[in-house]
Symmetry: C2
Subunit: 186 residues, 2 copies
């Protein structure tokens, strides 16, 4: 029996990414965001949606650039903090002891200590309502070598990423593997 | 030491959703998709990106409507199958023994057997490259009662959703909780 639960965005398993940007004084900022994901394979593009109330929104509108940084479970406290406080009031890189690295390709900083970094150039902005969606073309990606598997690709077990559940407001680890994709052929 | 790993969409922890649509003969179709996520809280909106090579792309372009259905780990084989075969060649609801339910609000079917269903009206279409992004306003959401917690919200432990990792091409369960969100206040 199905029950109506209002008009809700129920999508389970939200990623947690840390969005990097520079403000109008050139100070680096990070914030945590869960509304987004991959939106195109070629060109490689990712999307993130932000409210105008955030410092990052205005930074990205000005620079047309941002980074998405993927933290490990061991860095979940830093990620949570970055989602609570505003770059209007403090430099969160300094508060958290993290290192901003200028991306060189676009005007945005990435987080040295986080396993993976995507450098994004904004190619489309769409105002939906409370949130504005930024589509960013991934112009470069970095990973720390210790997080790569033998095939040279990021290894989920080494990265140990985490998930956000907005119903219970909790962060969860990735659990056991249950199936190989593309295995259910006739 | 950071290593460049080409221009890649490295976003870890992809959701897996099953996209429901009707084709031009009125036949219901499902496909598995991982490129998407939540993109706005108010109005509630979700996004999914599809290639023109898919049957679903044309269905959604015609009807301006789709559903996103969230399967449980126990339904991972059905989800994988829905990502391999095309609705051009077969009715995947029939192949998998799943029940299409007409959403009434928009012209799209949802999957009765999957724990959660979002009924979406397309409000914006953006051609990025290989993928086209559809932004859908969630006009209704359904959940089976056995998946709701005591607060009336979907319960991640009962839903037992799964995650796709595109590097290893595997599906993973959600693991242990590591932190409460909004806990790292000063």
């Amino acid at each position: 029996m199905k029950k109506t639960i209002n008009k809700k965005t129920l999508l389970y398993v939200h990623p947690v990414f840390i969005v990097g940007s520079y403000d109008d004084k050139g100070a680096p900022n990070i914030m945590a965001a869960s509304w987004g994901g991959i939106c195109c394979s070629q060109p490689p593009c990712v999307t993130v949606s932000l409210r105008k109330a955030t410092h990052s929104y205005w930074n990205i509108m000005k620079n047309k650039a941002y980074t998405l940084n993927i933290p490990s479970a061991s860095q979940v406290k830093e990620a949570d903090y970055a989602g609570i406080y505003s770059g209007k009031d403090e430099n969160k890189f300094e508060s958290l002891g993290l290192t901003p690295v200028h991306s060189k390709i676009v005007n945005a900083p990435y987080v040295e200590e986080f396993p993976m970094n995507m450098i994004c150039k904004v190619i489309h902005t769409y105002e939906i309502g409370l949130h504005t969606q930024f589509i960013g073309e991934v112009v470069e990606s970095y990973a720390s070598e210790e997080y790569l598997g033998e095939n040279g690709l990021p290894d989920v077990a080494r990265i140990d990423p985490f998930i956000y559940d907005s119903s219970s407001r909790g962060y969860f680890r990735v659990g056991e593997k249950i199936l190989d994709a593309y295995s259910q052929t006739k």
